[in-house]
């Protein structure tokens, strides 16, 4: 028996490099708001029932027992949500060029490379006959630019573009919970490439292509002698088949989506955002590599784990007395200072207090949300034999300052929020989480046509 019905619902495809206002790989690929035509609730229910019948799934663990449950699940888990690719490679690089025109040409070359890789059709040569090959590996290559491209850490505007710097772009500062070895300004880079696809080897091939051939192509195209780009290393991330990550809890239950038409509103810069014009339809990227210390976590009882997260481990439901949203997974806090709805330093209460009134800045707590596009990572074992694993936290937003930093500084790591002495986020307070690396970037808007190139707005005077 196969899960044919599921397979019949094909995965959404990326928008492509030249088709949208926005860069591909940020809010796409994305599930449609309404189920696609091939979505067959009955077939899915049949499969679930078969799994229960075969003893692979206990009936009490299955939260889908009716056609309505199937439809609700689409609404809850897919509708308007990002359909992340299975693998990500995060590659950072610095620009070694000295002239503005050279930078412009480099960006053209990067676009050319990205375009070639994205358009590549999966090869069917040399295949064994039972090997299934998709029509697309859903490759996206997104480019982020660091503050150091605009001005070096000592204030030098190498390319005469500092006046175009996106307003909230800066080297990432230090935060509580950072690893002692982390010096954020030292890990600042000019570029970040997010390479995503549904197969790890595709990622490897693209990373290698960039690392080994970008400089050569640039030299060949523009007669440049020397290296244009220095690659600083590659980070990898993967996706589990279920919705959970290492800590065993659902991740992204409350992630923003187009279901409520809030995805683009909270992610992309618009003309009213007081950013340079070229930044419109661009977005900021916050990258944090967060280690999750499993031995410490796994020592805790489930009850303690749930108290730290603020959700029931099995169902993903919040510990609040009132809930809302599809499947009742969204908490309602009648009083953000009342611990009866879960410990005040629990993760979900510290990162989204859901207060009823506007804050100090006249902004709703829910408007502080941003799009998370995280991937678990595994880097092997440390000297003590403990696994080095965690989350490649990638988040997109229209203002780092008003979204990510507000959440982290004013709520999550503020020991006096929501009340004096509440403590910082329990996951950081108990050293379950530790940030190993990261950076702030700006992802320029999408490309208008095949003649366009990444960040071309920087050169429009």
């Amino acid at each position: 028996m196969t899960n044919k019905a599921t397979l019949n619902t094909s995965l959404p495809l990326p928008e492509g490099l030249f088709k949208g206002h926005y860069q591909s790989g940020i809010t796409d690929p994305r599930w449609p708001k309404e189920p696609p035509a091939e979505f067959d609730p009955k077939a899915i229910l049949d499969i679930i029932n078969e799994r229960i019948g075969a003893g692979r799934l206990r009936e009490e663990d299955a939260d889908i027992l009716s056609l309505e449950d199937v439809r609700n699940s689409y609404t809850s888990d897919y509708s308007g949500r990002i359909s992340k690719q299975k693998n990500i490679s995060i590659m950072r690089a610095n620009c070694l060029l000295k002239k503005r025109e050279d930078l412009q040409n480099l960006l053209k070359t990067i676009t050319e490379f990205a375009s070639e890789e994205i358009r590549r059709i999966p090869s069917v040569k040399h295949l064994r006959i039972l090997e299934a090959i998709p029509d697309s590996y859903r490759v996206t290559i997104s480019l982020g630019i660091g503050a150091t491209l605009f001005t070096t850490l000592d204030g030098f505007d190498r390319y005469g573009i500092s006046h175009h710097k996106p307003r909230y772009l800066k080297p990432m500062p230090s935060f509580l919970g950072d690893s002692e070895e982390l010096d954020p300004s030292a890990s600042a880079s000019d570029f970040i490439f997010l390479i995503s696809s549904d197969h790890p080897y595709i990622n490897v091939a693209i990373v290698r292509f960039f690392a080994e051939y970008l400089n050569k192509r640039f030299s060949k195209n523009y007669g440049f002698k020397g290296k244009a780009v220095e690659f600083l290393g590659v980070e990898e991330g993967f996706q589990r088949k279920d919705t959970r990550e290492f800590l065993g809890f659902d991740d992204g239950i409350d992630n923003i989506s187009m279901r409520e038409d809030e995805l683009e509103r909270l992610v992309y810069i618009t003309q009213v955002d007081n950013e340079p014009d070229w930044c419109i339809n661009g977005t900021y990227l916050v990258y944090r590599k967060i280690r999750e210390r499993m031995p410490d976590w796994e020592k805790l009882t489930v009850v303690n784990q749930e108290a730290m997260i603020g959700r029931d481990k099995e169902t993903g439901k919040p510990l609040s007395r009132q809930v809302t949203g599809p499947k009742g997974k969204t908490p309602v806090y009648s009083d953000s200072k009342d611990p009866a709805d879960g410990a005040l330093n629990s993760h979900i209460r510290k990162v989204q207090p859901r207060r009823n009134s506007e804050d100090l800045f006249g902004i709703d707590d829910l408007d502080r949300r941003f799009l998370r596009r995280p991937y678990p990572f595994f880097d092997g074992l440390d000297e003590s034999g403990n696994s080095i694993n965690g989350l490649q936290f990638l988040a997109f937003m229209k203002s780092i300052q008003q979204q990510f930093e507000h959440v982290v500084n004013m709520w999550q790591l503020n020991p006096d929020f929501p009340v004096q002495g509440a403590g910082i986020d329990a996951l950081y307070a108990n050293n379950i989480l530790e940030t190993l690396d990261g950076g702030y970037y700006f992802c320029p808007p999408g490309l208008a046509s095949p003649k366009d190139y990444f960040a071309s707005g920087l050169f429009r005077e």
């Binding site: 230090s174 003309q271 500084n409």
Partner: protein, 861 residues
């Protein structure tokens, strides 16, 4: 006390709604964006980025220089507000702003850009560029440091001044007609500047209107509606003012800010004057709720503070040889730029008494005074620097607000005593109106002048210089040795130390050197007077200075009603501390001969061996230095040593007065009177002595040799009239033994903490000789963070009632906080200190300045 931005926000978040320290959401949004910008490099026009007049308007190159300058100003404003400036991020409009406009990034330290208008070798005519630069003057030489008459602006509007110029031009001689033309051109430029901003506001409103149709949440909708209304109303306002008179409180604040920014963009770093007196009538007329008026004041505060740079690695240096040239200095200007990174001269003076000629004194504080104090307390900025005038009749709540502001960590307001300064200013010349003296305001640091009617400049009279010259036969110790043998000569060759028999004889020699210095200063001033008018005229500022339009003369060409020049003595505390040593240890106790002391100072306390004359024994030097370091110091209420500061002050101010009356200057002064006196305004050369290093306490010591108080050569001196800091090469009394190694070379320690209570210390400054310092002589204090509010209020009351000097400034921070801030500047990004004339962020200071603040004495409760 606010020490970092993050803690500040967290503090505000925990305040209940309606708390007096909680700014409105609009202010918070504006502030958070501003803080973000503080961490980045400000957009700055490139070197010569504004170009030359010949690039933009070649047809006016043949016009007289003042007319060219008018065009240069108008073009500058058009460029910066227009597409050129917007593309570079120099100017912008944000939807939340109630006050529209942008300050340039030009600080006194980082320098400015001006649109050049001088003829060069490539033009027909005289090579003005070369000619002026030969005399250390250029288009950057505008001095700023002056308050325009903003009452004229808000009550009359620019159109009325333009109209007046047109009328007067008809009867004017050609050079005066040129002046009127330049004013009209420049003011039309300011009106166009406002219009461009109005266009930008309309564009923003239109963008918000489009977005309103797409808005998805009620918060977003309400924010957009507010922004549309705000931008529309701002555009309407800017179409009306500053051309027309202001009709509301917001109009007046907007007009003042816009003119302030126009002046700064055109290179005139001016201050804002008695804001509370100018705005109060509008507030009374408007009758708007207090929170609304406070929000407008807060918005102004934000606008004035947008150009902060928190990282001294990313600052710019656009300085030229003659930026802000001091009249009569006769050399390159070269201020201590590294200490002036965030100094824009934007002082606001509040409080004090009513400016009238009535016999009785009436307190002038009002609702706007209190709003300014609220803003200074709850907004953790360094600018505007607030100057609070106080007197016996200052209400208690004003002093309470002042104490709260000081304890919040901003090192302001500075306090100025009206009862001491007004009589001194009134006496500064024959024709000073009492009204003018009662209307005094700070120029850009703390120097006093009469806002809107004064031309002002100052010049330094280094106290250490006269001390060295008295000891060393007219030579300084700085370059003693192989280069200048006994030292660099610069004054009368007076008796060698070996022949000086008594302290009184020595002091008389010191007064001879003061006398020569003052006469040189006065001579330089008389000879140079008026030259800037032919080089860097200032038509916008002149339009707002009483006397200029009436006389048809530029501010820099004798147009102002009052011409005020302040010789400022520096290093008084170091000289007083040294005189104590000389009098007591040399002449009275005979521990060492004066000749031996001179040898020690020439050798820089033994560290320089390649010198002429006696070579003192190193052990003897160390022992004597230790004794000098632990000797009583000025500023702790000890009359034994304070008396030397009082005497020096008297010698200085008497010499100034005497020099003005000396026949040698009579011809020069008469020539100036003949040239500049008008029927309306008698010629007034007001010489207002004061004490001031401002930021130059490092620079002021950097060329001076060792001093008898134990200070080594080239080390900083005290700021202003403060007590001297501990020398930078010795260990502080609270230095733990494990840190002594740092000072192993000298093994000299300050074994006694130099301290006393803030109240007791006031006796040091409470002397009639200091009251002649009409330009101000601030006592700069450091107090601990836990200084109780009620105790500080009591000290401020005593100061207002006449104890202490005529000015006092207070920095709040523990020595440990400074040390921690040196180690982790990011965490202490809001720690602010008094730089003499204004407040600065500690983290942006360079090392020597940081050390100075750590080494200032701390005064306790």
């Amino acid at each position: 006390m606010h020490i970092n931005i993050l803690q500040y926000w967290q503090h505000l978040q925990n305040l209940p709604d309606g708390h007096i320290d909680k700014p409105s959401p609009r202010i918070c949004r504006l502030m958070i964006n501003m803080f973000e910008a503080w961490r980045s490099k400000s957009p700055y026009p490139a070197f010569d980025g504004l170009g030359h007049l010949r690039d933009h308007k070649p047809d006016v190159l043949t016009a007289p220089l003042p007319v060219r300058r008018g065009h240069a100003f108008a073009l500058t404003l058009q460029m910066v507000a227009g597409e050129w400036g917007q593309k570079q991020g120099l100017t912008y409009v944000a939807g939340d702003e109630l006050i529209i406009g942008n300050m340039p990034p030009y600080s006194v330290g980082q320098g400015k850009e001006v649109l050049d208008y001088l003829l060069g070798a490539e033009d027909d005519g005289e090579d003005e560029r070369l000619k002026f630069e030969m005399g250390f003057m250029n288009p950057w030489s505008n001095f700023g440091h002056i308050c325009p008459n903003y009452e004229t602006l808000v009550n009359r509007g620019l159109d009325s001044i333009i109209q007046e110029c047109h009328s007067l031009k008809g009867f004017a001689e050609p050079d005066k007609a040129d002046f009127y033309d330049s004013v009209v051109i420049a003011l039309e430029g300011v009106k166009a500047f406002a219009d461009i901003y109005a266009d930008a506001c309309e564009k923003r409103a239109s963008k918000f209107t489009k977005a309103l149709g797409l808005s998805q949440t009620s918060t977003e909708t309400s924010l957009l509606k507010d922004r549309i209304a705000n931008m529309t109303s701002a555009a309407d306002r800017l179409r009306r003012i500053p051309a027309k008179p202001c009709s509301s409180f917001l109009d007046a604040v907007q007009a003042i800010f816009l003119l302030n920014s126009a002046l700064h963009w055109t290179g005139e770093l001016s201050s804002l004057g008695r804001l509370d007196q100018i705005l109060a009538p509008f507030l009374e007329r408007d009758n708007i709720p207090e929170h609304q008026a406070q929000e407008i004041i807060d918005c102004l505060w934000v606008k004035l503070d947008e150009q902060v740079v928190l990282d001294n690695r990313i600052v710019e240096d656009h300085f030229t040889s003659a930026d802000g040239a001091l009249l009569g200095a006769g050399g390159a200007s070269n201020f201590d730029q590294g200490a002036l990174i965030n100094q824009w001269m934007q002082q606001i003076t509040i409080g004090g008494c009513v400016a009238d000629n009535e016999p009785s004194v009436k307190d002038a504080s009002n609702a706007v005074t209190r709003m300014c104090l609220n803003a200074a307390r709850r907004l953790p900025f360094n600018c505007p620097t607030l100057d609070l005038r106080v007197h016996k009749g200052t209400p208690k709540d004003i002093l309470e607000l002042a104490a709260s502001s000081i304890l919040s960590g901003g090192a302001h307001p500075i306090l100025m005593n009206d009862d001491k300064l007004i009589p001194a200013l009134h006496r500064a010349g024959d024709n000073v109106e009492l009204r003018a003296a009662r209307n005094y305001a700070c120029d850009g640091c703390y120097e006093t002048h009469f806002p809107g009617e004064t031309e002002f400049s100052f010049i330094y009279v280094p106290g250490l210089d006269v001390l060295e010259k008295a000891l060393n036969s007219g030579a300084g110790f700085g370059s003693s040795g192989g280069v200048n043998l006994r030292g660099s000569k610069g004054s009368f060759r007076t008796k060698p130390a070996s022949e000086i028999q008594s302290f009184e004889e020595f002091y008389a020699i010191l007064e001879e050197h003061i006398w020569l210095g003052i006469n040189r200063t006065l001579s330089g001033l008389i000879n140079a007077y008026g030259i800037k008018g032919g080089i860097c005229p200032t038509p916008i500022l002149s339009a707002l200075i009483d006397g200029c339009i009436e006389s048809g003369r530029d501010l820099y060409n004798g147009g102002a009603k009052y011409k005020m020049f302040a010789p400022l003595m520096t290093g008084i505390s170091t000289v007083a501390d040294s005189l104590y040593v000389i009098k007591n240890y040399v002449f009275d106790e005979g521990e060492m001969s004066l000749e031996a002391l001179v040898a020690i100072l020439r050798s820089d306390w033994g560290s320089r061996t390649d010198i002429i004359g006696q070579k003192p024994d190193p052990e003897e030097i160390a022992a004597f230095r230790q004794k000098c370091i632990n000797a009583p110091k000025f500023g702790f209420g000890d009359a034994q040593v304070d008396q030397f500061a009082w005497r020096l002050a008297e010698s200085f101010t008497v010499a100034v007065k005497k020099a003005l009356a000396h026949p040698l200057h009579a011809t020069g002064l008469k020539a100036l009177r003949d040239k500049y006196e008008t029927k309306i305004f008698p010629f007034n050369m007001l010489i207002t002595p004061g004490v001031g290093t401002f930021e130059q306490y490092v620079f002021g010591g950097s060329y001076a040799g060792a001093t008898a108080d134990g200070r080594k050569a080239f080390q900083p001196i005290a700021s202003d009239l403060a007590a001297a800091p501990y020398p930078q090469d010795i260990s502080l009394p609270d230095t733990p033994p494990e840190e002594w190694a740092e000072h192993a070379e000298t093994q000299i320690f300050a074994t006694k903490e130099r301290t006393t209570s803030l109240s007791d210390s006031m006796a040091s400054w409470n002397h009639s000789s200091f009251e002649a310092f009409s330009d101000g002589a601030p006592a700069d204090y450091n107090i601990p963070e836990d200084f109780p509010h009620d105790k500080l209020v009591k000290v401020l009351r005593r100061f207002a009632d006449g104890e202490g000097g005529n000015m006092m400034t207070v920095t709040v921070a523990n020595r440990d906080t400074f040390k921690a801030a040196m180690a982790d500047p990011q965490f202490y990004d809001l720690l602010r200190v008094r730089m003499g004339g204004w407040s600065e962020f500690f983290s942006v200071l360079y090392g020597n300045h940081k050390k100075q603040h750590i080494r200032r004495p701390q005064y306790h409760v």
